[in-house]
């Protein structure tokens, strides 16, 4: 498959506008500016593009919820990449920032937004600088600003830096953060498409999602739809980390089997050890084991086996990994990142962390596994946003497949491995 999203990854100088233009950059924007916005939305619907941030919602459908006659609308690019195991958006922003900016301009024109914000996590200082420089270049060449390429369409793009809050990847928390508040999720409905940033219709799309747009415009919706499974097509970036020989980013067709990603692209398990478990899409996604490795990596196939594609962040753990410790690290993360707004998540994730921590530290008690399971039931589906559910899905995944390791830890006060 010809690379679209990572074609410039690792190439020195590829981030400049001259380099981008020499590869046909901004041709898609020129083409789109001569089209009716509704036709662009239809094209994106026809392409089958689904959101790459994790939820997999159809992008064209999301855009179509925006009221056409609203005078003030916004596009927000979610670059708050924070799901542990995920590092794909950073790859695009550092090496191909214009790809994202062109995607933002296309999406903004399609929905009629005149302002767009890129919400980037605070730690990504280098990527934020690259984006800011690229935005300035795009203004200078007339691809952003007033009356773009003489078409009458105007768009301003701004970088808004987060400052250390995983929850701001949740779209309504992201909006709160841009408005200058603590990043806590809003009640839905109303959904952002009707009442988003400053109460105005807003679309929030992930970096990778927006970066697919220039190729869809240039090569056509049919081309995009022909890659991978019919119901979740297109190229996808998989980020592989953990115990593999060649960790890194791999752009492959959606639906590539997990086994191929780990053993062919990422070189297999380090020191030729055995694979013990793999998280397929960031730590919220329930883990999989050896017998599930032939699952195609797409939204529907992973949902069918009780996990999720999420962000496509693949974390591989070999046979030396203690699953209690892995669970503790994940619970520590969720309890640290719970925003504190709702009780089941704020208290629940803290309790989950404390109980898993005491098991890990050799202080577990008989009945702790049952206690964890009962707590999970009191959190799941009862939280304000998906963060609490993510913690539960992750923990249930480990408990389902490695319960005996927890019991062993409680009885012997040490790891099974």
């Amino acid at each position: 498959m010809e690379k679209v999203l990572l074609k410039n990854f690792g190439k020195e100088g590829a981030h400049t506008i001259d380099s981008y233009l020499s590869g046909g950059g901004y041709e898609a924007l020129k083409k789109v500016l001569g089209m009716e916005p509704e036709d662009i939305i239809q094209m994106v619907k026809d392409s089958g593009l689904r959101g790459r941030g994790g939820a997999g919602f159809p992008t064209g459908l999301k855009w179509s919820f925006i009221p056409k006659d609203a005078p003030e609308k916004y596009l927000c690019c979610n670059a708050d990449e924070g799901e542990p195991g995920t590092f794909k958006d950073r790859g695009i922003m550092e090496y191909d920032p214009h790809l994202l900016i062109e995607g933002i301009a296309i999406a903004s024109y399609a929905i009629g937004a005149q302002k767009a914000y890129i919400y980037i996590r605070g730690e990504f200082v280098f990527a934020a600088r690259r984006l800011q420089e690229a935005i300035m270049e795009a203004y200078e060449k007339g691809f952003l600003g007033e009356n773009i390429l003489g078409t009458g369409f105007s768009l301003d793009v701004y970088v808004h830096r987060g400052f250390g809050a995983y929850i701001c990847g949740e779209e309504t928390a992201l909006l709160e953060s841009i408005e200058g508040y603590r990043g806590q999720p809003r009640k839905k409905p109303p959904f952002p498409a009707l009442s988003g940033l400053y109460g105005k219709p807003t679309v929030i799309n992930n970096v990778e999602t927006l970066s697919c747009l220039p190729a869809i415009v240039n090569k056509g919706a049919e081309w995009f739809a022909s890659i991978g499974p019919e119901k979740s097509p297109g190229p996808k970036i998989f980020g592989v980390s953990g115990h593999v020989k060649k960790p890194g980013l791999y752009e492959l067709p959606m639906g590539t089997p997990l086994r191929e990603i780990i053993y062919e692209h990422a070189g297999g398990i380090r020191d030729n050890r055995k694979l013990k478990a793999v998280i397929p899409g960031g730590v919220s996604a329930p883990l999989l084991t050896e017998e599930e490795l032939d699952t195609p990596m797409d939204f529907d196939s992973l949902a069918k086996i009780g996990s999720m594609l999420g962000s496509g962040g693949v974390i591989v753990m070999d046979e030396t990994t203690c699953m209690v410790k892995a669970a503790y690290i994940i619970m520590r993360f969720f309890s640290h990142e719970s925003c504190g707004k709702c009780t089941p998540c704020r208290e629940g994730t803290t309790w989950l962390k404390k109980i898993v921590q005491r098991i890990e530290y050799g202080k577990g008690r008989q009945g702790d596994v049952e206690l964890l399971e009962s707590l999970c039931g009191n959190i799941f589906g009862r939280t304000f946003c998906p963060l609490g559910d993510g913690a539960v899905m992750a923990l249930r995944g480990v408990l389902k497949k490695f319960k005996e390791e927890f019991q062993y830890h409680i009885e012997h006060k040490r790891c099974m491995v």
Binding site: S241, H243, F333, E337
Partner: protein
């Protein structure tokens, strides 16, 4: 806050947004970048400038973990990722090694105020784990020797 900073806030940050309040995150970032942390007086000044209550600025400052609210840090703030991918690749050894090299525990600052050591949740650099961040910069694919070289240069 000096005149130049005020000017930068009014000309570069505030016009990006529909409300003045929206400028508070970036304003706090700017002020912190000049001195390493934010004091009560800084937050009062920012509040007055943006038409907010001081407690509203403080609430933002204490929610987002990168703001060092009333918490001075050393010239080099070392943050060691302790999430899963880094842990699998030896992040904890890196943390312990830095503690040994600097003679401080996690959360502490060296007596010469040069280094502060913290742990941090996922830095989004899992493919090049283990990873640390020192001030604005990432250091990836670390081992003990690389850490010694990096700290040696900063000492």
């Amino acid at each position: 806050m000096d005149e130049k900073t005020r000017k930068e806030i009014e000309e570069k940050i505030v016009p990006k947004y529909r409300t003045r309040r929206s400028a508070c995150m970036a304003t706090m970032q700017l002020v912190q970048s000049q001195k390493g942390h934010l004091t009560k007086e800084d937050m009062e000044e920012i509040a007055a400038l943006l038409g907010m209550q001081p407690v509203e600025v403080e609430a933002v400052g204490k929610f987002y973990t990168m703001y060092n609210v009333e918490r001075p840090v050393g010239r080099y703030h070392i943050q060691v990722c302790e999430n899963l991918s880094c842990s699998l690749m030896g992040g904890e050894h890196i943390l312990k090694h830095i503690e040994r090299l600097l003679g401080i525990k996690t959360g502490e600052t060296t007596s010469d105020k040069k280094f502060t050591l913290s742990t941090v949740q996922c830095l989004g650099s899992c493919g090049t784990a283990p990873v640390i961040q020192i001030n604005d910069d990432y250091y990836e694919n670390l081992n003990e020797k690389k850490v010694e070289e990096i700290l040696g240069k900063l000492r």
